[in-house]
């Protein structure tokens, strides 16, 4: 703050939202009963070379001006976060939780946050969070130091602690489905014996899955049962999910995110929307689906580049986004579940001559999903149209609760054995987990030779077979498990492929 013509400058690579802080701060100060100093004000944001964005610094700028003009006095070391309105009210903003947590790690122990973000900020531990509803309240808090509001302790997660290993596999966090929107029950899906089984396998082992079927065969309905079939997040997963939700969410959180994410972006999604990016390096759908399911309906309709971009996140479980001057690594351990029509008209294979798609067109339609991506999909299942008779006559199907219980149990077995789900096993760990006997090895080779599989194809077979054994609750993978895994192989390499065409 310097003498001279009244003015207000923000230096340090502020973006538009931050530049506009000038107007918000001026209005807020005036409307909170303080005087806006008629002096030359310069706000410096350090470090100078890092681009700053957003409105979270409003409160800090306003309080800085008030302290600088000696209208308010501060006691001790504080951090203040919040966006100001012209009237002086405080608003929360996305990413509050990780900001508070980061401040906590930097030994800033007292933090003023907007009132509506209090619950979210308190999910961080080891920090003294106090809330203010307005700029004036914040100024009072600053002056009065430790005499903040009485605090209630919500359940917390040890943000700094990394010793979560022993907790994995314990019974905590293994309850079923706490999702708020559970979707339809599996019993509501008619028929589709094969697809039900495929879905159970996929969820139990975290395998990526593609459903192929004509319109109206129930692909989307089946996918929407997924949230009700998945176990809740364990503590470590919940911590990550909460931070991701905070960064990408529009509403302040009130509690830890415990429901497994189920994301179903429309096929018009942009590249950056899928993998993350944009001006703020925001996480994309692959990250928001971390530890959960990414459901892509009408798979071939997605932009090719967008689908290709899924490969690396699927393989590595994280996605590295680099932009000029900045880079970020986001977790992306999602399970891909996709649905597609067998051909552009959707009626291929209905056996009534209705599909008139040229064979070349059918091939091209499927080829929109590139080979490398198809290679990463463990389970393929066809969903034929359900005939009216089946719809009416087929008996009661198993409900979500029973399938979910089996999924939970199978996942527990996997975590106890190798600390990860089967879909994340490969190489020696996978072979060790399968523990194939002589006869089973020979059988696996036979199955693989039938279709001329690559090494990756064989791994896929073993992974799914391992999950089938886990669902049955046996430690050794038997021939029947291998057979079942082979049943859900990719349709492109079926042994009697020539008889299938057309």
């Amino acid at each position: 703050m310097a003498p001279g013509l009244p003015g207000f400058t923000i230096v340090g690579l502020a973006d538009t939202a931050l530049q506009e802080a000038r107007e918000r701060v001026r209005g807020a100060i005036r409307n909170s009963g303080y005087e806006y100093p008629p002096r030359r004000i310069t706000v410096n944001l350090a470090p100078a070379e890092l681009r700053k964005s957003g409105a979270s610094l409003d409160l800090a700028i306003a309080l800085g001006i008030l302290v600088g003009s000696e209208q308010v006095s501060a006691n001790g070391r504080w951090a203040v976060l919040g966006e100001l309105s012209l009237g002086g009210e405080l608003r929360s903003m996305p990413g509050l939780l990780p900001m508070v947590a980061a401040l906590g790690r930097r030994t800033v122990k007292r933090i003023v946050v907007p009132l509506d973000g209090l619950a979210e900020a308190r999910l961080a531990c080891d920090v003294d969070v106090v809330a203010a509803a307005t700029l004036a309240e914040a100024a009072v808090l600053l002056r009065e130091s430790r005499r903040g509001r009485a605090r209630v302790q919500p359940p917390r997660v040890e943000l700094a602690a990394d010793g979560l290993g022993e907790r994995v596999g314990s019974d905590r966090g293994w309850g079923i489905g706490v999702a708020s929107e559970m979707g339809p029950d599996l019993a509501e899906v008619r028929g589709q014996l094969e697809a039900r089984r495929a879905l159970e396998l996929a969820l139990a082992g975290g395998h990526s899955m593609v459903m192929i079927g004509p319109p109206g065969s129930g692909k989307t309905l089946l996918a929407r049962t997924v949230p009700g079939l998945l176990p809740a997040l364990d503590d470590q997963e919940a911590r990550i999910a909460t931070i991701i939700a905070s960064v990408s969410g529009s509403e302040p959180l009130t509690d830890l995110v415990r429901a497994r994410p189920f994301r179903s972006p429309h096929h018009t999604i942009s590249y950056a929307g899928m993998v993350g990016g944009g001006p703020l390096l925001s996480p994309g759908e692959v990250t928001r689906a971390n530890d959960g399911v990414l459901f892509l309906d009408e798979l071939p309709e997605y932009d090719r580049a967008t689908l290709e971009a899924l490969r690396q996140p699927m393989e590595d479980g994280e996605v590295a986004i680099s932009r000029v001057g900045r880079a970020a690594v986001f977790p992306s351990r999602f399970q891909l579940i996709a649905a597609m029509n067998p051909c552009p008209c959707g009626h291929a294979g209905e056996g009534d001559g209705r599909c008139r798609c040229q064979p070349g067109i059918v091939d091209r339609y499927t080829a929109r999903v590139s080979g490398p991506l198809r290679d990463r999909i463990d389970i393929w299942v066809h969903m034929p149209r359900v005939e009216p008779a089946e719809y009416v006559l087929s008996g009661a199907h198993e409900g979500s609760d029973r399938v979910a219980a089996r999924v939970v149990e199978a996942r527990r077995r996997q975590m106890l054995r190798s600390g990860r789900v089967n879909s994340r096993l490969s190489g020696r760990a996978l072979r060790g987990a399968c523990a194939l006997g002589q006869a089973e090895q020979a059988h696996a080779v036979r199955l693989a030779e039938m279709d001329g599989w690559s090494a990756r194809g064989i791994e896929r077979l073993l992974r799914v077979a391992r999950t089938a054994a886990d669902l049955e609750g046996v430690e050794r993978v038997a021939e029947t498990h291998l057979d079942e895994a082979a049943r859900f192989r990719s349709p492109t390499g079926r042994c009697l492929g020539f008889a299938v065409a057309g």
Binding site: G191, Q192, E194, G351, E390, G497, F498
Partner: protein
Amino acid sequence: MLGVQSLGPVITRRVAEDEEPMSATTPTSRCPRTVDRAAMDLERDAWVVLLSVTGLGPVSFGALLAAFGSARAVLAAASAPAGPARLLQALADAAASPDGDPAAVFDACASAETEAGLPPSGFPTPRRRQSIGADLATRICEAAVGGAGEVERVRALGLTAITLEEPEYPARLREVELPPPLLYLRGSADALSARNAVAVVGTRWPTDKGRLIAGWIGSAIARAGAVVVSGLAVGIDGAAHAAVVGEGGQTVAVLGGGHARLFPKAHERLADAIVAAGGAVVSELPPDTSPSRGTFPRRNRLVSGLSDATVVVEAGCRSGALITAGWALEQGRECFLVPGPFDSPASAGCHAFLRSFPGQARLVSGIAELLEDLDLGGGAGSGVAVARGPGAPKNGPSTRQTQPGGRPSPSVPGAGRAAVLASLGPVERALAQELLLGPATADQLALRTSLAGAAVLSALTLLELRGLATGAYGRYLPSGRLAAWSDGPGSRLSE
């Protein structure tokens, strides 16, 4: 009468592999034909070069051949200085001479249009064009200079060329009007000249039932020792080919494009299987010709021409299979059509054809009846006994090691469907019998057999892995020995 074509002794092109390479110095005592073997090879290469020229159809080719006496002479003239002028001059001279009727050898057959109506009406009338344009002459000269490349290409693709002048050229095809001058062949040449050959064709968009019937007919004909000819298209064609391959029989696939542009791509493996089973894949087009709208009707003329009779399994109103049927009648071959429900769009073309050609087009009322009509059903002509009684043992699966006549090995008891069923466990057998009634989804099977879902799935897996069922788009069809025609439709179920 069908099925017996008077064929001279067939000298297969395998000779080139079986005997040591010959040269002009080889003693001529072994076979009188070996004298001009080298010359014949050169002449054949010249045909390959000439016929690879874009725009040079059978008519112009015939004109050139008549003017110069041999393809080699044409190439020699074309590669000399001022080649185009010499070609044109020679053609003009030949046309002027009184007995110069070069187009008599080969006439226009390239104009078969894809008119959608019933084919015989649209049958091409021979056009007599005896001269070639200057552009074409230039292209011929260019090909003559760089011609070795085309011959190399054919060889590198493992193809054999058969010219109309050679004895290996299938006699049945030679008989038709306007036979293609050159055939490019992959596989065995004797499949083309088998004693009996029947074309099985149909729509590319069959119903499941049509697919099954195509398989039955294909396997029944193969077991009766005849060769099945078809067009390698998806749908009925593919089902017929696959059934024959499943029987280990010989089948001939006629391509609508060149060998290097195999279409449809989805049937590349089927084509390999056909060749491996002793059959042949054949085309009249140079290897790098892309299939196009016009090439398929032309191909259909070969399908019917290579066969004694043509069977259409399913054909919509505008199906190309009807063009094949029309060609068959035009070529004086028999033509059979499988009827369907009268309101079925997939069979509408068959019905219309039957109605349009009373007394010529014939109805297929059953597999056994078809074999009888084809003179394959155990008559003296075929020399093959095909049992038609229920439960009778069927012939063995392989005719691969049979004589050039395509005669299958003697019947192997217990190889039939009953034996297959008997070898299955109770759940698998129940499913197999259910599948024989028609294609079904896993849900339908579970519903009809009242078996538990898990049991159905594992039994289906077993059937599929044993090759007795095929899953396509979630529906299961019998396949392999379960799909082969066995006891006739009336006795499909033993329970």
